[in-house]
């Protein structure tokens, strides 16, 4: 009887909510983003995938209109807690790659009831929508409690990289077949974390939470193993960007709240030089000042811009976006913050044009359930999707 009473209360509440919704005829905004934490973009097909960190939530945003695409007769998210559980119980990272036939392939890691040393692989296209790839999940060698932290893809060659923080290795797979490629894994040691691939230099940058070395892996020569750059701090994330003047390494600190930039000497990595560092605001310093960092520096993406500059984008724990814009000759680094105040800032990715230049940055804020969009060229806020 009590259970029936509860259902009656729920039904009554639903009626009240429906009545309220119908009264608000001017508001068509759906709140689809519940716990968005991971953003990955298939720029070729103009698809922005936003993955929740729980409850099987996955939304698809049209990069042209910046609107969430809804599915089914009830206009629902691509995946949600009522859909079949395709995502890991608690996703922690994800990356997308464009395949032939209009298919976007998603690789997602995370924890939950299943083993954590596996990569869930999902395919999406406009006709078949979302489903698990035939070879999903990819089992990564190791124990079933290993932490897979970093994910990156080399879209041109079709390689997927995943870092195993427990074993200190980076595994490499064919994105089309899920098969581990020759000369994988690559040992990097320590505790490898987040990582990013730079298509211009062909290098993968791997952060490390156990030592101050950032590993660089040449995707075209896995057999040579990893080289390292000492960045002086433990790192949470690392990203590369290149132009005609050189290649820059951007890192966010782990255990310390810092961002650093290095001009890499690819012929002699030991000769690489730090060209910029951003430290947190001193505790007794009046706020704000021009370089004020209002929260913790989280994750980073880096890319060239259409005007020749290089840029790095860092999410901040306050839900703002930190930008480091570097002049085309790599001589000047200009920090900036797009103050959005989205309460939290986690995963991010950028939309790129046909030449690989970043045009828009998308970042997720699980605290308030929003996706914020910022112009990559001028760092101006564009809009926020609830």
């Amino acid at each position: 009887m009590f259970r029936s009473f509860r259902r009656f209360r729920i039904a009554l509440l639903a009626l009240v909510l429906a009545a309220a919704a119908s009264a608000c005829t001017g508001n068509n905004e759906e709140d689809n983003l519940i716990f968005p934490a991971i953003v990955t973009i298939d720029s070729d097909l103009g698809r922005v995938f936003v993955i929740d960190n729980q409850d099987n939530g996955l939304n698809l945003v049209d990069a042209n209109t910046d609107r969430v695409i809804l599915f089914g007769k009830d206009d629902e998210s691509l995946l949600n807690d009522e859909a079949p559980q395709l995502l890991p119980g608690f996703p922690s990272n994800g990356v997308a790659v464009s395949l032939s036939g209009g298919v976007s392939r998603l690789f997602v890691t995370g924890g939950g009831a299943t083993a954590t040393n596996q990569i869930t692989v999902l395919d999406f296209d406009d006709v078949n929508l979302i489903r698990a790839a035939a070879f999903s999940p990819i089992a990564v060698a190791g124990a079933n409690t290993d932490a897979l932290v970093g994910l990156a893809v080399d879209a041109a060659v079709g390689l997927l990289f995943v870092s195993n923080a427990t074993t200190g290795q980076v595994h490499v797979y064919n994105v089309n077949t899920g098969a581990e490629v020759a000369d994988s894994p690559v040992a990097v040691g320590g505790i490898p974390g987040r990582m990013n691939f730079d298509p211009d230099s062909g290098l993968l940058a791997v952060s490390n939470a156990a030592n101050t070395a950032v590993s660089l892996i040449d995707a075209s020569d896995l057999a040579s193993g990893a080289q390292t750059v000492d960045v002086g701090i433990l790192t949470r994330d690392a990203a590369l960007a290149s132009n005609g003047a050189g290649t820059l390494l951007f890192v966010s600190g782990s255990q310390v709240n810092q961002a650093r930039v290095f001009d890499l000497d690819l012929a002699n990595l030991a000769a690489s030089t730090q060209i910029f560092a951003l430290n947190p605001n001193a505790p007794d310093q009046p706020i704000p000042d021009p370089n004020f960092v209002p929260g913790t520096i989280n994750f980073v993406k880096a890319a060239p811009l259409s005007d020749g500059r290089l840029a790095a984008f860092f999410t901040l724990s306050t839900g703002d976006l930190l930008e480091l814009d570097v002049s085309a000759d790599l001589a000047t680094v200009v920090p900036g913050i797009t103050l959005v105040g989205a309460v939290s800032g986690e995963g991010l990715d950028y939309l790129q044009d046909a030449n690989g230049n970043a045009t828009k940055v998308y970042y997720a804020s699980p605290g308030v359930g929003t996706l914020t969009i910022v112009n990559a060229l001028d760092n101006q806020f564009i809009e926020q999707i609830p």
Partner: protein
């Protein structure tokens, strides 16, 4: 049905208050088999003694009184109750002082608004002592909840609008810091709902969490220990900083590097350092999280407590609203998984509802996490190496179990939340 139970309990509580006595409830059963838990609110484990100590708060007034339970964890996956005693209702934390053979419990038995003095309980846990299980009572501030023992001789306690410091060698007096401060910027801080505290690894600063306003940081060097019996009033001067951007901080812990603070709005575990802090004279200064924080890690819904397992570089956070535990890798400073206490359970392990207190134990080379479930009144045992639930005890009533399985709304806003003083 659980909601109706709570309505009934709330009505009973009101009735209790109206009557001015609590004789309509029966005493909590002090049986070892079956073991009866009542809103477990704090736990701590001793690796050396292979014991798990559990504090039942009885926050929802299921019984007339609360209890303190000692369990043998020599078989860590299947603890055996050894002893149980009655204690006053509404304790908060438990602080283990193994060297002296005590645990300390901030306790707020008195719910009367006019009563400004509650107590700290000291329970004798030396099983070879003739005073084993003796309970001593010491005056405290109003509604104490959190505590921190420095492992030497200082016990820190948070109370409503106050932070207290005891010398555990003589607990007849305490120093008191007034937390109802106005910042240098002229803003008044609401400190009625201070919650827990942690001493920074440097030993210089005490981080005091605050459920309904900004977190406070106290200069420990100005928070001198008591030298006489009674209350030594230190005023507001030890309060040095107010941390802007922390909105609903709850559990707190530390390791040798950082202070860890659970924030509920938004839900994240803040990893903080006091490396850049300098003493402040006069009114406290407002600073932002950016001045202290090295990471903010998103966690589950309505998080409660945090516990640190430094040898294994892990932090665990109980997500009370999600019925999960977040597992944080302290090297990566990232959540590596969550463990549900209400589903995907082994056969014959009852689900848990509203996980709140936790204790970590290393027994026989294995690591085990014990999670007290505030609402289902049981304890979930997690193999922390395999990251899997292995057991839950004691058995809960079948109709309650059915409720826990059905209870998927993960929302207890408006219900009694662990540690809230409003419902007591």
């Amino acid at each position: 049905m659980r909601s109706l139970k709570k309505i009934f309990l709330a009505a009973s509580l009101l009735f209790l208050g109206a009557c001015g006595e609590n004789s309509i409830f029966i005493p909590i059963p002090l049986t070892l088999n079956p073991l009866v838990l009542a809103n477990p609110i704090a736990m701590v484990a001793s690796n050396a003694a292979q014991r798990l100590y559990v504090v039942n708060s009885n926050n929802l007034v299921l019984w007339e009184d609360a209890s303190f339970v000692i369990l043998d964890i020599s078989n860590p996956a299947n603890p055996t109750p050894l002893a149980v005693i009655s204690i006053p209702n509404f304790s908060g934390n438990i602080l283990l002082d193994e060297a002296r053979g005590f645990v300390y419990l901030p306790n707020r038995q008195s719910a009367a608004e006019a009563d400004l003095i509650d107590q700290v309980l000291r329970i004798h846990i030396n099983e070879a002592s003739p005073t084993f299980l003796q309970v001593d009572f010491f005056d405290s501030g109003e509604d104490p909840f959190g505590g921190f023992f420095d492992g030497v001789d200082s016990l820190y306690v948070t109370a409503s609008r106050e932070a207290l410091r005891y010398d555990v060698n003589n607990m007849l007096g305490f120093s008191k810091v007034d937390l109802s401060v106005t910042t240098a910027a002229g803003r008044e801080i609401f400190a009625d709902d201070t919650r827990e505290l942690a001493l920074s690894p440097s030993g210089n600063n005490l981080f005091v969490t605050n459920r309904t306003d900004n977190m406070l940081i106290l200069n420990v060097n100005e928070m001198t220990p008591p030298t006489v019996a009674g209350v030594t009033d230190l005023g507001t001067e030890p309060v040095d900083y107010i941390v802007v951007g922390t909105n609903s901080t709850r559990g707190a812990a530390r390791d040798s590097n950082f202070v860890y603070v659970v924030d509920g709005a938004p839900a994240n575990l803040r990893i903080l350092t006091d490396a850049g802090l300098t003493p402040v004279s006069g009114p406290p200064q407002e600073i932002t999280t950016g001045s202290l924080q090295v990471a903010a890690i998103p966690i589950g819904n309505d998080p409660g407590e945090v516990i640190i397992d430094e040898p294994n570089a892990r932090a665990y956070v109980s997500n009370t609203g999600d019925d999960t535990v977040s597992v944080i890798d302290l090297n990566l400073q990232a959540e590596i998984t969550r463990i549900a206490v209400d589903n995907n359970l082994p056969v014959n392990s009852d689900p848990g509802d509203q996980p709140f207190p936790m204790a970590i134990a290393n027994v026989g080379g294995g690591n085990f996490l014990y999670v007290g479930n505030f609402d289902s009144n049981n304890i979930t045992v997690i193999d922390a190496d395999a990251l899997q639930v292995v057991f839950a005890f004691p058995d809960i009533e079948p109709d309650d179990e059915e409720d826990e399985k059905e209870d998927d709304d993960n929302d207890f806003s408006g219900e009694f939340s662990p540690g809230f003083t409003g419902g007591i």
